[in-house]
Point group: C2
Chain length 686, copies 2
């Protein structure tokens, strides 16, 4: 068999494994694997440096299937290159209950799947984050003669990816950052779910990417392995620009009746067409899941090749460790998701202060201390650092070392090149979210991204994906209510906190004061199996006197009693964030009325819900049915905590433009109103 | 005074009105108005065809301030050109409680404000929708010699707009559609909130827009009125391409200490800098809000000019009415937001059917009937029509008449040019949302957009803005739960329905069967003061026998009793959408156990919450505390309806990839489980 024949055999094996998987499941997307198998094969067999026997090798190349609907192709690649988990049986259980071959790739389920994809465009953003991660670690840890971090990030993207805004944002930023090790293979088959792309998409993608500063190539025949190979080589040589390789393919290639048609996109070919396709490409009709021995042997060589590459790397890393033991230890620690010893020893304790400080400002203080101790903390904002206070001031900007920055304002510190930890995402919240996920997927990072709470709406898809993929990502959302004031309803969060709470496996924390903010950050940094959202105020809130009130560590339980000395309360006041201060101020007034309130700070529904029932009952005793919740957000969901006998002061309409204090007053967030509503509740119950 | 001097006087008047507004409010964004006043003035004084005395004139040009933070400039323009509401007193009350001059423009408050903007990028998407609206109405209603619809859509956009993905999506589609009457003035001041754009944004915006198919010009000096004017003229002449005019400006122009700096972006100049700026530009230091008489006279000529233009148009329209009375009547009716007589006479009634049909499929049937009767119903999907079933099959595609569509698949019908009503948005959910809003802003439309429910996350910002701006937009969200099955967690909605319910002024409807789907569509089409989301199944659900169960018109109350004959229920089963079928199936089984259930279908929390308390009590009598809610989504918020004694079968984790029925079974959505949980609840209560 010639080399060309063997290549074709391998490619057709990938194709028909995918076709048979989809057919067996009677569900899935055969068209993309049929068209894109050659480029995937070229990449995986000739370039991708990975170790199937050790999918977690830290210096492996990353491959992101942004076109996640082509999952069957990825699973076929993993099987053929020898990933142990990805057995033939798993391929046969494609899209079945508890298989490792779900409809779209899920990184937390399957080793070798680098990112959970499917929602289009996300993978390009993830890859941006991975390329940032590689560039940053290389800048921080490599030393002359010791290139221990040196890998590429490859993406396989579809026409659909190219239409999504998140992709556009990510590509613009990748071009700005000159991330030369990011290479996108664009499977340009000209067909999407509903038709040919010509009905909605006629831009020149290559020209657009050139405008972003990318290196752009085109391959006119998706079956031309040599051309694809040359293009990838050229892309790798373009070291100071990310690369796009647009490969013209035919969706459903080889399927006589549907190739090039949208019918090939998202439905099984059906038994007849499978038969015809196999005949057409010279493939045996039966059995399904046929794997020719030469193809398997050829592709399984990836195991040996990967082991050799990893061994070579390990020797280099050993030499590095000998020369730079502290760096090596730190790098390995980062990839183990272990925090450094004493990481939280120097976090600020905030003294009691009636005027207090905004929790965004307290967050800034905590972040500075964390940044000193936790080098894996890397992040930035969507052009809002002067407002979100998320600059790490002792560090520098993450930027291309080659980009002149004459007269640039708004930088933290220049000259750090890719070693800087402050990422300027620009006004690109969605790509920021996807890139933060990419940093987390890559490993070695506790990444964070910041914007105003209301703009969490711009980045819900990546927040959700972080929760699905169990990524330790941190979102810092400031300006968290109608107290934003003058900017008005478009900038005032009302429903966002609830909408975040609704995402499974996302921990939402809305701390009440500076010290709760510190604990909230600690929780976020410690979390390893899912993302955390910090919801912070723009305006000042009092820093509670912890000699009087319970320690802020209560945040860890999600909700805690601020005034446990009151052992016989008549009612419970429950607040979160900025509204806790109102409850505290209402307490003496209620006592004047002969009413004894318990005050509960409830920064996190999720953490509280995760407590044992009796622990919850100690905070919210079932016998006390008079409960008033106060939160400057929608009332929806508060019934869970206040019960049928409760009341809630909330915001169930949009905000308004006026000074923040004026808006808060008009919306009922005053001590007077809290006292009044609490007294009414007490009267009603007694 | 020469013409140039008068122009400069007018421009400086706009500048200093804005500066004084921000200073008086001690809050706002002075930098953009100082830099962009010349281009705004050029546009408003030399091109914008509007009638300040009749802001609702249907053939006016539309102006969208996508850079909504520059609101002070827009309010100054409205005042100077004679919009009656926009008094000097309102300018002085900038950003104050209940003023007409909120921090960001709010279209429902202020006549002359065409779109509620502020969240960046949205305005470009809105303008895409407005340009689609104009092109469509022109194609549908104009007749030779009778050009009654002929206006432009102008946008003033900022660097921030140019970074947002929604803008990229919208611009790509606008280029594809060759919307020649869309003209974007890009205020390229190179500065954003956190610094110079050079720290995050170095793409060539003009080249990118050329790649989209736009006509692109550049003006190097934002104070060069003649150059700006020529560029707008040239842009208007480019009739088969949308136009971008990148105007290089200086943020905070004229403010000696902050111009060109990010300090000029979002904070008042302060008294000293205001003084210096006025001195620098030859403006009297006092009084604030100084308006030179010649400037006012010159700009107020817009009233007369507008009246003349509108009069001319009215004469043309009268002639049109005489020649085409039915068309004229229909066009005017559309702009009055009145539905045609008998619009709902021919909607389908669906016969009882145990196997039933998917509510997305029922929706398709209803939509076909609606489309026949309601020509203002125009919309499309984000590349999902074969799945969302939102094609209007008797109509054609909205497309450029000039674009060849050889071999295009997935079209409904070609040859309709801009007269087609099916808009192919491509895989651009966010721009779809913003464009749907634009159609609604424009007037004359009941626009709809469709995608999978889980991808509502990609378009939450425009959904929220539709609710803020009270737009009659309709979102069709299909594939509404884990029953989607094989596509897995990334494609299975869990928290989305709740997250939508949390948006104030959005009506969310999750109909239980085909007939409820009809009523849901009726409600959506009738709504004039806010958006509606229809949440529909992928899978079949039984069509209830309305001879046995209560009429589907109960949907209008948000929740209704399906089996009112049961007058002495032991417990209440509450369901929405696909889960109502489970309750109906459980009923006889519960009766076998001697338990009498009331079955409540609750398609809309919002509509039910809006009922009078006693009406609600007739559906959910307070004395029946045994209530079981069943919904394939998060449990959060259900406590409001089930109370402390209730239970809920819900999905409080992510979905899974397997056949839909398998997933539903594993997650507890079976008749057995409903019966078991209902019996347990009944035992506990009795």
């Amino acid at each position: 068999m010639t080399g060309d024949e063997l290549d074709r055999l391998c490619i057709n094996t990938l194709r028909f494994l995918a076709v048979d998987m989809v057919q067996q499941a009677n569900s899935g997307h055969p068209g993309m694997p049929l068209g894109a198998a050659p480029m995937a094969y070229a990449l995986w067999s000739r370039f991708l440096r990975h170790a199937p026997a050790d999918p977690a090798w830290i210096d492996r190349d990353r491959f992101v299937l942004s076109a996640g609907h082509g999952s069957a192709l990825l699973y076929a690649l993993l099987h053929m290159t020898g990933y142990e988990q990805m057995t033939l049986d798993q391929l046969k259980r494609f899209r079945q209950w508890q298989s490792l071959t779900p409809g779209h790739p899920e990184s937390h389920l399957v080793r070798g799947v680098e990112a959970s994809t499917g929602p289009l465009g996300q993978g390009v953003g993830n890859a941006l984050g991975m390329a940032i991660a590689e560039a940053h670690l290389a800048a921080r840890y490599n030393r002359p003669g010791h290139g221990v971090i040196d890998h590429h990030t490859y993406v396989l993207a579809s026409d659909g990816d190219m239409m999504e805004g998140v992709q556009a944002e990510a590509a613009s930023l990748a071009g700005h950052l000159r991330l030369g090790k990011l290479i996108v293979l664009y499977d340009a088959n000209g067909v999407t779910l509903s038709g040919t792309t010509s009905i909605a998409f006629s831009e020149e993608v290559g020209a657009r990417y050139r405008a972003y500063g990318w290196h752009v190539q085109r391959v006119d025949d998706g079956n031309d392995l040599a051309a694809i190979t040359r293009a990838i080589e050229t892309a790798r040589d373009a070291k100071d620009q990310p690369s796009l390789i647009a490969v013209r393919t035919v969706i459903g290639f080889g399927a006589p009746d549907v190739q090039g048609k949208f019918a090939a996109h998202g439905a099984p070919l059906g038994p007849d067409e499978v038969k015809k396709t196999k005949a057409n490409l010279g493939w045996p009709e039966a059995p399904a899941f046929h794997i020719p021995e030469p193809a398997l042997a050829h592709m399984r060589a990836a195991i040996e090749r990967g082991a050799t590459a990893e061994d070579g790397w390990r020797r280099r890393f050993d030499a590095y460790r000998a020369a730079f033991p502290a760096l090596a230890t730190e790098l390995e620690r980062r990839f183990r998701h272990e925090l450094p010893a004493g990481w939280d020893a120097n976090l600020p304790e905030f003294p009691a202060d009636a005027k207090g400080t905004a929790t965004r400002k307290a967050s800034e203080g905590v972040l500075q201390a964390l940044a000193q101790a936790v080098p894996e903390l890397v992040g930035g904002s969507g052009d809002l650092d002067p407002s979100t206070y998320t600059w790490m001031k002792q560090d520098g900007d993450f930027e291309s070392p080659d980009r002149p920055r004459d007269g640039a304002q708004g930088t933290v510190g220049g000259g750090w090149g890719y070693g800087g930890r402050n990422i300027h995402f620009g006004i690109r919240e969605h790509a920021m979210g996807a890139a933060i996920n990419g940093l987390a997927y890559h490993g070695g990072f506790i990444p964070f991204g910041a914007t105003f709470l209301v703009f969490s709406d711009y980045m819900r898809p990546p927040i959700r994906l972080a929760a699905i993929a169990r990524l330790p990502a941190i979102w810092v959302f400031t300006h968290d209510s109608i107290a934003v004031g003058e900017d008005g309803p478009t900038h005032e969060a009302v429903e966002q906190t609830l909408a975040l709470r609704a995402i499974p496996n996302l921990v939402v924390l809305r701390p009440a004061d500076a010290n709760e903010t510190r604990v909230a950050w600690q929780i976020a940094v410690e979390r390893t199996d899912g993302p955390t959202a910090l919801v912070l105020t723009r305006q000042h809130v009092p820093t509670l006197d912890r000699a009087v009130y319970a320690p802020a560590e209560g945040v860890r339980q999600g909700a805690y009693v601020l005034n446990p000395a009151e052992r016989d309360p008549d009612l419970i006041l429950i607040g979160t964030g900025s509204e806790v201060g109102l409850l505290v101020a209402a307490e003496p007034r209620l006592r004047d009325h002969g009413v004894r309130p318990r005050i509960v700070s409830m920064p996190s529904w999720e953490l509280f819900a995760a407590q044992r029932e009796d622990d919850r009952a100690r905070v919210l005793p079932p016998e006390i049915i008079a409960r008033l919740a106060v939160e400057a957000g929608t009332a929806i969901g508060w019934e869970r905590w206040i019960g049928d006998g409760g009341d809630v002061i909330s915001v169930d309409r949009f905000g308004a433009s006026a000074p923040g204090a004026v808006v808060m007053e008009h919306y009922g967030f005053t001590v007077d109103n809290v006292v009044e509503r609490a007294l009414a509740l007490h009267r009603r119950q007694s």
